[in-house]
Amino acid sequence: MAATLQNKGTKPRAKTKAAAPQFAEVPVARPQVEQRTLNLPPSPSFLLKWHPERWGVFGDKWLPILGKLPAEPGVASVNKNGSTSLARAEAERKGWRIIPESAAALADPDRTTYVKAYQGRRGTIHLSIFEHPRQVGNRVIVKTDDEGYRAWLSALIDAGYIDAPDDEVPEAIIDGQRQRVERAIGANNPHRIAREEERLEALQTARTPGDEGDDEPEPEPAPTKRKPGRPKKG
């Protein structure tokens, strides 16, 4: 107490810096129920794969319908440790081609894989980079980046990861659609006939990858050369 009195009035005490950290901060420990975790069931990481027979029309273009190879032990030859080496070999033997994860760079140069992981309430959730989860009330809605996904599929074909479809594959699908139109006509359902015919037209007019001419605008007619000595028109 005496010391305090002596100090009083003799010398102004230097202000201590309020911001000077004395203790290191750690993340706030919130109860699990208050953490913002994704409310979807856990899902394993995966590889995407392509098969020459799996094609469909996305918008106005024939594009591949990729399959998934989930890295789940016990599923489709994935081994006990989650290694997919045997599963990949098995898939390739059945005609599939594995899309390497590095092909994600075609969509985003900074990405090394097309899989992204989120912390979920019951475990890790793996989605593709084209899937964007949103929490709406108690529900989770996964929105798809359709344009980005289609552009990436086209880029996979351009980069040679996927071959252009054999002519027979779209033709077989179109033929099947013709039969659906016939069935709709047989059922005499005008609404269904219109729907199936519309779909048939979409299949018939869709561009096939490799038809480079379709991607490029029609070249403008070359201007006719004016003969020397003649006046300009107009």
Binding site: E53, G56, G67, N79, K80, V142, R180
Partner: protein
Amino acid sequence: MAHHANAMNITDLSTAGHIRLAAQLHQEINLLLADRGSSVLDHPAILYLGDFAGQGSDVFELPFAGLMGYDKMVAVAENADAAPTALTAASPQLTIARQALYRQVTGLGALTASLDGDPTKIEVLARDMVAAARMRLVEMFAGIVDDFSSTVGTTTVDLSVDDFFDAQYTLTQASVPGPYAAMLYPVQVTDLQGSIRAEAGALQFRAATQEMLDIKGPDFVGEFNGVDIFASSDIPTANAAADSAGGMWGRGAIGYGDMSVGMIPEKGIPAGTKIRVGTDYDEPGDYNRIIGNYYCGVVECQDSMGVSIITDR
């Protein structure tokens, strides 16, 4: 009688706080909503490949031979040698892996249990392991119905009766024997039901058509055109989650194998299953541990015997 302000409210809840519980537990435990349907596992279209315990590996090649009429005889001239025909064979590979569920029950948790079927009771958890194993197997199957190279449906377009017929035609054209089963995402099922409602002609008068529209629980949702249909929320997404990838297949397209595990002395194996359920007690932590183990694997046996149904999710 009018209420007197100075009267002692001996029956009022706030004044009787010491002789009332803050809350009382209802005497019945109900289940949280979940997809618990697993009867697809018992459908004859799913091939049980056998018990692979004690066979020296966790990877198995499944031999499929082109016999019993696979190769037809050919006409050969009387004086000519017949050309040898090589046997066609395939051998998809099945890997068996461990699937498990592990729970801990603290001493206090167990001591405060008061109801039948309390989730801290070991017997209840042991029964739960059986359901957990079956649902895991359903989830594993759902992961391979997208593996068929044949597909029907249109991306971002609802599943229709025509898509369903297309799938059936694909199997019929490939000479796939029945019975057929289809496993669909619940939204695909309701899309199909919606499409059936709009059907005209002979189809609308079939008893199965009416039955298909009746409300049912999860799992088996009905039979349509001779195909048993199962709904599962485990059906994976396709086309960057724009679609669901269900499937239809005939017997032999997909199958599973498992491994029996030996009995353990104190608890044993729940009757009729191959799931090993074990318990032990942690003295320092004062909790019981219970773990269920099941060793199984699923495989696509013959690609041409199934078709993936890829439609709007």
